[in-house]
Amino acid sequence: MKNLQRSQLLLCFFVLTLVYNLLPVKPLETLPVYRLLHSEQVSSTTGKTFIRGTTSASVPSSQTKTYFECAEYLKNIPTNLNQDTSTETEDEIPPNNEQEDFVKCFKGTVAVFPLFSLLEFDISLFSEGGTCKGILVVLPRDLLTTKTQEFVTFQNEEEQESKEEIIKKLGQIESLLVEKEFRVPIYFINEDEVSHLFSFDNVNSDKQGNYNLKIVGKPGNKKKIKQVSSLEAWLPTDLDEEGKLKPTIIITANYDTFSISPALSSGLESGNNAVGVLVELSRLFTKLYNNPQTKGQYNLLFVLNSGSKQNYLGTKKWISSVDRKVLESVELVLCLDSLSIYDDDIEKSKLIDGLFLHYSNGGKIEIDKTVPTEFQSISKLFGIDTQIITKKIMKNNPLISFEHEIFYRKKLKAITISNFKSYNQTIRKGSLLDLQSGSSPNARNMETVTTLIAEFLSKMIYKQQQHQSQFISIFKNNYKPNNLVIQNINKMLLKYNRFSPFLEKDEQFLLNLENTFKSFGLDTKIESKKISLKKETFYYSGTQAKLTIFKVKSLLFEFFVFIMSLVYLAVLYYFLNGKQKTIQEIKQLLNNRKKNN
């Protein structure tokens, strides 16, 4: 009989387990998350594969642990983040029990790290499988809202230094995240989405409320850069007396970007905030050219290219397909890189963080040195300090530092205007710190820079005499650059992820830009060129996923509630039955058991 009762109980338990698994569970929340870039590079010569980023795609339903819950293990951990990375030696972190304890702390859970906590330890500790179920990196709201400007706008020199260090270190973290292969899934999420769930202000998080995270994602389809699209807008002038093309000036910019999470690649800082400037320049010069009295003696070709983060793949493809007649007429190529200037308050008497004019010398192509000095002198009038940087091109080095080098190699005179001194500066490569120019104070500077570039171009186009003592500005009043145009273009671009490998031929933002140029009256076309590379780099789609969060009970807490309910029953029984009767019953029960044994 007793065995039958026990088997019945066991059966009930299994049925309950089955029912529990079959019951639909309502999650607490469902939020968007963005996967770390997963790319794979295969060398066609050696056949060797270099895998980067995260290879796993889904986070199984697991409990979470925030950084602060395990941070106590990190008190004495040395990191290699403070070392000088320019030596290019990868010193291994000496094995340390505390590091192992820190990693073990997250075993079997989903580690939730605020982005800046990645500075406190070496993320590559988690690269091996089995260390944790997954990593969720919480991006501070300062990174992805217009408030980013507050982060980067420096108030005093001391703050500037520390923030520059942070930017540098974040760049190192991003490099490590992309270059290392992680066998655990890594996703990013905005702080605003999870601030009510995870507290990162206090060390003591609410442990009674544990959360179960689940991300269902596929590794995604393998894709490589199949094609790059270029957008050309042609503003012609009249043909010369012989019916040939007059000289041409090409103004180029790049619209693509890079991010360690392709689903978060809508930023506008890493060399692609010049799109708005280029569009505004085209509008201004179209207006001038529409008037026969102010029509210039140069053809203007405005070009927007992609693939700038893939060694300027788009520009290379485009230049190889341009009409030979146009190429022969090119007198100057003006490449617009990142053009924003950081400042709080423009004071005309004060020179502020300015621009850099890059050009190459040596070889058969020589730029007339008056061109860069002319730009420099005009920029001073606008209160902007421009430094001229020349660099010899090493023909054996395939790496393109700035876009003008591509044109230089095609024997065209070209300069690049950028606010980056060096090609390998952190933000320039594409970073989560990409600023959104939108309606931030930075947009005011874009208007100034647009005027500067327009004045510089007009000097060439209208062949204004160099020796004039007074500077005559053309772009004022009706021809003053319109900030709204630049802002609207930026706002439009901010809505779209623009990571090259994931771009199609008919991207909406490209069509919008094409329509914008057409509305100005320019002859516009979009051209897509197929790409085939010797070294194939594959990227994986599935860059975005849904995270479901369940609030779970800790087992211990549940057991405690169960024990308390038994205590409640016992107290109630004792109260109702009376003291003496209860004691008698207990004694009787114990005696019966002894007899049975």
Binding site: F550, E558, L566, L569, L572
Partner: protein, 238 residues
Amino acid sequence: MSFFYLFAVLAVLFVVPFIYFRISTKTQSKKKTPILYGVVAYLLTTLSKMILMATFLPDSDQEEADFTAQFEPVSALITIVVSSLDVLGCFLALRACSGHTEVKIFGVSFAWSATETILSFFLVSWIGCLKPEFNWIYMQNALGSNINLLRQIAFTHIIWVLWKGKFQNPDKGNIFIWLSAFFITPELFKLSEVLLGKYFIFGWVLLVIKFAVAYQLYITSKKYFQSFEQLKNNKKKN
């Protein structure tokens, strides 16, 4: 996963009434008939109340679990009137069953309360307790059903006293007042939920208040019952 919370809630829901019934009617026999009649009486009474509520109660868009819902006096009045059917149901159950007084009273109360618990709370608790998300409301509902049992016992005592006393009890005025309290208090609790909800006071505080009220009702009805039994015994002796 674990079932500890589910077992805890089910234990509080069903074991407490069982303990109370077993202790109160330990020495007596013939316990099944009051339970049976109590279940049938509850089902029929609830069905009738539902039909009347559906006929006379105006439509409301508010959910029951919405603590911020506004209190509607008209609906509350209709609910109080319709709830008086419980008197009839309880009376018929007590009249139909046979046996000792205590067995009848506790049997009907236990059956009434247990049926209400099974129909109102069992399935909700089963599904809710097995969710990954923890919520105290299921334990609160379980403790609330214990308080309802106490209230039901007090109610059954009052009905018994009124019935057996054949309305000749000198305290009948007060008894009727206390009887009406049984119908008014649930609506008062709903009103207090709304009022307290505005100050974010839920759950446990309300439970304590409910227990205090139910306990008071129990003490008073027990007092009336004991005084009635004493009167009856004195008449027999005489």
